[in-house]
């Protein structure tokens, strides 16, 4: 099997590509639903990197961190979507550029 294994840096490459795509989405989307989705993608990318690294060393720690990320994602989505509903109610739109009261 030697030489035919999946190379670690390819896994990381995929992970970082996903991360960057998620980041790009975060930067360009104005709809808060898409922003939350982008966040999910980024979290996932990070999780992939962890799991990949864990697998590289053959240790369970990567997956443990994956699970922590999972909980964070779940909590974040729960609260985030709750906020989405509130924003829709207050501003009658999901455009985050409207929620700019903190502008200086």
């Amino acid at each position: 099997m030697d030489g035919l294994n999946i190379p670690l840096n390819h896994v990381l490459l995929v992970s970082s590509l996903l991360f960057v795509i998620g980041l790009l989405g975060l930067m360009i989307r104005r709809n808060i639903i898409f922003i939350l989705m982008s966040l999910e993608v980024m979290l996932n990318a990070a999780a992939l990197a962890f799991v990949g690294a864990g697998a590289h060393w053959g240790q369970p720690d990567g997956q443990v961190v994956f699970m922590l990320i999972l909980t964070v994602a779940a909590a974040e989505v729960a609260v985030g979507l709750g906020l989405v509903l509130q924003i829709q109610r207050r501003f009658k739109t999901l455009d985050m550029d409207h929620a700019n009261r903190m502008g200086g």
């Binding site: 930067m27 989307r29 985050m96 550029d97 903190m102 502008g103």
Partner: protein, 615 residues
């Protein structure tokens, strides 16, 4: 008895303080008694002291207390009394007393009677301290004290801004000289380790050679003070303006006493000047130049007090000439006689002004000979003495100065000749004044004649002006004997005859009209010269442009505080930064995220750059 010398300045000082504290609540009689009485008693004490000194000519040194002591610097409040001091004190208290008496009548209608005498007494006290001081610092105290009193008295009628202007000019111009003098004091102390005049001169003779640079610098700095106070070139411009003060003030301060302080200073420190022949030469040249310039200017003036003011400048120029050629005794002698006859002339003009509703222009006067006989004779005698007609007091002193100037090496005859020209001019302008004011048509009628309080001082001063020349001043122990031989007789004859020629010229031009000068005066050059001399050789004009206006311009330029503008830049920068950064607070999430990513990119790049091995 002599130990009570400190009472002499103290009495006028106390009187002055009392008058100041009275807030003008004393009756006039009491004010007059205090003002005149204090100076009178000082004069009596001086007289007693003088008699005592004549009998037993011993120098007195009296330290009241140490003013301040820092290390070896320990000037005392201490008096030094010798013949020179005695002469000065006599002039100050004697002439001072007469002028105070005169003032009681001259100022009788003034609302600020008490203030006037407070200032005048203060002046006498300060002047006495000046001449009695045994060290230069105490002398400086008196020096500045008289300056302040002069300022206060010139600007006595403060409601008129022009008077304030004149007073300020007087103080500031003399202050320029005073600052030079202060620097001289610093130099002398630093080099010689004392400011006590006697020991300083002794130390100077030990550590310096004749012709060294340091004594030259020190003497020139002291000379700066002297020319400021004595209204010599180039700091003479304040004196004509200082005539804005009450006339008795002009008589006391700006003719008899304060303006001669410079002469006194140089005479007092003659030991230093002897070490710096160049400085002496400068003194002589300044003296004779000033004398001529002022005499020309006096010839053109029409304000009676300004004529006398320029005449004073001119006469002090003679004293400087005397000092410069080493004729110390003659210089001090002329100081004394000048105090008599110039005080007489000023008081006389004061009487005229008092009786003529404050008229100053001589061409609006005329024919006063019969209306004001006392004043007329005062003027006649005063002018004769001023012009140095034979047998008057001015004759003896001025003649002596000219003769000694003639003997001065190298340029002596030139100095003598210039002095003669001055004497000619002096005779002309002084008798021009007499002829215009007292002869001819009556143009303004006097509404009163002088009372006894005016007449008495005038008479006494008349007498002094006549016989003052026979006084022998007790300064032979103070100054080195002049060693010159007697010059040829023709020199003496010329010296005697020149004033008479001047008198004759004045008569022909201003009285009989036989000598017509209209053509000369009205020619193009004549007009220009006339204007030029009238304005005092344009020196005021020059200073106005050289110093006053640039200073004003500079001050108004700086008023905006350029330094603060620099700090303002910091503020502006911060405000700009604030504006810029708060604009970046758009409140838009995408903008924040993008900024964060940009920051992240930079941070990662920096981290990679800084420690690539960490990966």
């Amino acid at each position: 008895m002599r130990e009570l010398i400190w009472l002499i300045p103290l009495i006028p000082l106390l009187s002055s303080v009392t008058l100041m504290l009275s807030s003008g609540k004393f009756p006039r009689l009491l004010i007059g008694l205090l003002g005149v009485g204090s100076v009178g008693s000082a004069a009596l004490l001086t007289l007693a002291l003088g008699l005592d000194f004549m009998a037993n000519p011993e120098v007195l040194q009296l330290t009241l207390w140490t003013w301040m002591q820092v290390g070896s610097f320990a000037p005392g409040v201490a008096f030094y009394f010798d013949g020179l001091t005695l002469v000065m004190m006599s002039v100050i208290t004697g002439v001072g007393f007469l002028i105070h008496l005169f003032s009681t009548e001259f100022m009788e209608d003034d609302v600020s009677y008490a203030r006037y005498f407070a200032y005048l007494n203060m002046f006498v006290a300060a002047m006495l301290v000046l001449v009695m001081a045994d060290n230069l610092l105490l002398l400086y105290l008196g020096w500045e004290g008289v300056g302040v009193c002069s300022y206060l008295l010139v600007g006595f009628w403060y409601q008129n801004s022009a008077n304030g202007q004149a007073a300020r000019k007087a103080f500031i111009v003399t202050r320029i000289g005073d600052t030079a003098m202060a620097l001289g004091l610093l130099l002398l102390f630093t080099e010689l380790g004392t400011l006590n005049i006697q020991s300083m001169v002794g130390a100077a003779n030990e550590s310096w050679q004749v012709g060294d640079t340091l004594p030259l610098i020190a003497c020139l700095l002291l000379l700066g003070g002297a020319v400021g106070k004595s209204a010599q070139l180039p700091l003479h411009t304040w004196l004509p303006d200082a005539m804005a003060g009450p006339t008795p003030v002009s008589a006391l301060i700006h003719a008899a006493t304060m303006v001669t302080a410079g002469v006194y200073l140089i005479a007092r420190t003659h030991g230093l000047f002897l070490l710096a022949p160049t400085a002496m030469l400068v003194v002589a040249i300044i003296g004779i130049t000033t004398s001529l310039i002022a005499a020309f200017t006096a010839l053109m003036q029409s304000d009676i007090k300004r004529i006398l003011a320029y005449s004073t400048i001119s006469q002090i120029g003679y004293m400087f000439l005397a000092l410069g050629v080493g004729a110390w005794t003659a210089g001090i002698f002329h100081l004394m006689t000048h105090a008599f006859f110039k005080a007489l002339l000023f008081l006389g003009s004061g009487a005229i002004i008092h009786c003529l509703h404050h008229e100053h222009n001589i061409f609006k006067m005329g024919g006063l000979r019969s209306k004001m006989p006392v004043t007329f004779w005062s003027f006649m005698i005063g002018s004769a003495a001023l012009a140095a007609l034979p047998m008057t007091s001015g004759f003896f002193s001025k003649d002596q100065i000219l003769l000694e100037a003639y003997q001065f090496p190298d340029i002596g005859p030139w100095l003598w000749f210039a002095g003669l020209c001055g004497a000619l001019l002096t005779a002309m302008y002084s008798f021009r004044l007499v002829f215009v004011v007292f002869f001819g048509q009556v143009k303004t009628k006097p509404d009163k004649d002088t009372g006894w309080r005016m007449a008495l001082p005038l008479s006494v001063l008349c007498g002094l002006s006549l016989v003052g020349g026979y006084f022998i001043i007790p300064v032979e122990s103070v100054f080195p004997m002049s060693t010159g031989t007697h010059p040829a007789h023709w020199v003496e004859y010329v010296s005697i005859s020149v004033p008479l020629v001047g008198l004759l010229l004045a008569y022909l031009i201003f009285q009989s009209g036989q000598l017509r000068v209209d053509g000369l005066v009205n020619s193009a050059i004549g007009k220009i010269m006339r204007q030029f001399w009238l304005s005092g050789w344009g020196i005021d004009w020059l200073y106005e442009r050289l110093f006053v206006r640039p200073y004003y311009a500079f001050a108004s330029l700086l008023k905006a505080e350029p330094v603060d503008a620099v700090y303002g830049l910091v503020v502006t920068f911060n405000e700009a930064l604030n504006g810029w950064l708060s604009q970046s607070q758009t409140g838009r999430m995408r903008w924040y995220i993008t900024s964060m990513v940009a920051g992240l990119v930079v941070l990662v790049a920096v981290a990679l750059q800084l420690s690539p091995e960490a990966i």
